[in-house]
Amino acid sequence: MSTAAIPETNAPGFRLDLWWIPRAIVLGLIAFAIFGPLTNLLLWTVAEKWYFPHTLPLEYGFSYWGRVFSPRGNAMESLTNSILVASLTVVVSLALAIPAGYALARLRLPFRAAILFAFLIPQAFPNLPVYVNIARLFYEIGLNGTIAGVVLVHATHGLVYAVWIATAAFAAVDAELEQAARSIGAGALRAFREVTLPLAAPGLLASAIFVFLESLDEFTGSYFVGAPDVNMLPLLLYTAGAGGNYQVASITALLLLIPSVGFMLVVERFLKSDVLSKVGH
C-alpha cells in the first residue's frame, strides 16, 4: 500500500500535463508561420552574400544599410517624402474629421447614419479602378506626380478612420462638461477648445496614428498618382525588389514594419474601451 501511495503524494507538484505536447506543437507551428517569414526578412537585411543552396547567408554586414542611408541614395528622398506625405495626410484628414466628427457625435444631423456610412464607401469597393481614374483626372489638372496629389488620395482613404474614431472620441466625452462651461460664460468655440477637445485628444491621437500608418504603407495610390515623380518608401521597396536587390528591399520593408508593429503593441493604450464601444454608433 505504501509503495503504491508514493506516486500519488508526488503527483500535485510534478504532474506533467500531457496536453502541453499537442499544444506546444500547434503553438510552435503558428509561431513559425508568423515569425519564420519575419526572421527571413531580418536575415536579408544583414546578408552580404546569400545564394542557393546555402541555408544561411555566407557573409554578414551592414554595407547595404550604408548604401540605403547614404546622402546620395534615393532611400533618404523616399523616406523624407513618405514622412512628409503621411504628416500632411494627417493634417488634412484631421482638419476635415474633427468638425465632422463633432457634428456627428453632438449635433442633430439629418441622415446621420447615411453620412457615417458614406465614409465607409472607400473601404467597400475595390480601390484600383478608382485610383486609375483619379490619376487620369489629376493628370488633366496637373496634380499627378505632385505631393499634394498623393496627399489628397491618401486623405480620402484615411477619412474613414479619422471620421469614425473622431466621432466615437467626441461621443465618449460627457456632454454636460461642455454645457457647464457654456453656463459659466464660455463661448461655443472656447468651450470646445478648452473642454471637449482636450478630453477627446487620446482618441483623436489614435485616429491620427491610424491615418499616418495607412498613408505610410499605401502602395496602389502612390503607384498610380505619385510615381515616378514622387518617390515613396513602398515604391522604393517595389522597384528594389523587382530589380532583384533583396537587401535594399528588405531594409525598406523593415523601415515600414517598425512603426506598424510598434503601433500594434501600444494601440490599446490610446484606444480605450469607452471609445471603442462607441465606434460606429
Binding site: F125, R136, L137, P234
Partner: protein, 273 residues
C-alpha cells in the same frame, strides 16, 4: 443659423472630399469601361474577356479559396481563445496571432517572396530537418504564394472580430452545454459559430474586397500569367495607356465584389426574417 445647418456645414467638407475623390472617379471608371474610340459599346469587355478570361477565373478562385481558409482559421483561433481551458496557452495564442495584422501588404509581399522562394528559409528548414531533399525543394511563388500571403495577412483581422463576438456570447449557455457533456468542438460548431455568423460574414466580405484590390502582392509574388486582375489593370495602363480595357477589368472586379455583397445581404435578410 439653425443648429441642423451648422452640423451640415461642419460635415460638408469631408463629404465633398469623398464625393470628388472617390465617387466621381468610381463613376468615371464605370462610364470609361463602355467608352470606345467614338462611341459607347461593349468592345472593351469583349477584348478583356478575350485576353484575360483565365485571369478573371484565377482571381475569383484565389480570392475565394483565401476567404474560405481565413474563415476556417479565424473560427479555430477564435474558438480556442474563447473555449481554451489552459489560461497560459490562451495567453500565448492571443499574443501570437495578431502580429501580421498591421503589416502592410507590400511588406507581406516582400517578406513572403524571400521566405517561400526555392532557397527561402522555409525550404531550407525543411531540408535541414530532413523532411525533404534539396532537389525536392520547390518554389511556392505561384498561386499558392498569393493565397498564403492573403491568409497570413487577413486572418488576424477577421479573428479579432470573430473572437470579440465570441467573447460576448452568453457564458451560461456554454457552461450548460459543457455540463450536459457536450465536447468543446461541438460547442464551437453548434453554439458559438451560429451566434457569430454575422460578424464572421462582415469580416470575410471586407477581406474579400480588400484582396480583390491588392496590387502589390500579385506583382511581387506572381506576375507571370495567369495572374490577378489587378496586375493586368496596372499592365494595361503602364504598357499601353489602354484605359478602356483597364476600366472594363475594373468593372468586372466591381461586379464580382457586388455578387459577394449581394450574397451576404440576402443571407443577413434571411437571418432577420
Amino acid at each position: 443659423m439653425p443648429k441642423r445647418l451648422i452640423g451640415l456645414v461642419l460635415v460638408l467638407p469631408a463629404l465633398a472630399v469623398i464625393l470628388l475623390l472617390f465617387i466621381v472617379p468610381l463613376a468615371a471608371s464605370v462610364v470609361g469601361a463602355f467608352e470606345e474610340k467614338n462611341s459607347y459599346g461593349l468592345g472593351n469587355f469583349t477584348k478583356a474577356f478575350e485576353l484575360y478570361r483565365s485571369d478573371v477565373m484565377f482571381t475569383v478562385m484565389i480570392v475565394s479559396l483565401s476567404t474560405v481558409l481565413i474563415g476556417l482559421f479565424s473560427i479555430a483561433i477564435g474558438g480556442y481563445l474563447t473555449l481554451g481551458e489552459n489560461p497560459r496557452a490562451v495567453a500565448i495564442l492571443r499574443w501570437l496571432y495578431r502580429w501580421p495584422m498591421f503589416i502592410p501588404f507590400i511588406v507581406v509581399g516582400q517578406v513572403l517572396r524571400t521566405f517561400l522562394a526555392k532557397n527561402g528559409l522555409m525550404n531550407n528548414m525543411l531540408v535541414g530537418a530532413g523532411i525533404i531533399t534539396p532537389l525536392q525543394a520547390a518554389s511556392f511563388l505561384d498561386w499558392r504564394g498569393i493565397v498564403i500571403a492573403f491568409v497570413w495577412k487577413q486572418t488576424p483581422f477577421v479573428t479579432l472580430l470573430v473572437a470579440g463576438a465570441m467573447a460576448s456570447v452568453d457564458r451560461g449557455t456554454i457552461e450548460a452545454a459543457r455540463n450536459l457533456g457536450a465536447s468543446r468542438l461541438r460547442i464551437l460548431l453548434e453554439i458559438l459559430v451560429p451566434q457569430v455568423t454575422t460578424t464572421l460574414m462582415v469580416g470575410l466580405v471586407l477581406s474579400f474586397v480588400t484582396m480583390m484590390s491588392v496590387l502589390s502582392v500579385p506583382l511581387m509574388i506572381n506576375a507571370q500569367s495567369p495572374t490577378m486582375i489587378t496586375a493586368d489593370i496596372a499592365f494595361r495602363i503602364n504598357a499601353y495607356g489602354d484605359y478602356g480595357v483597364a476600366n472594363a477589368l475594373g468593372l468586372i472586379s466591381l461586379a464580382v465584389t457586388a455578387c459577394v455583397a449581394w450574397f451576404y445581404l440576402r443571407h443577413s435578410m434571411k437571418e432577420r426574417a
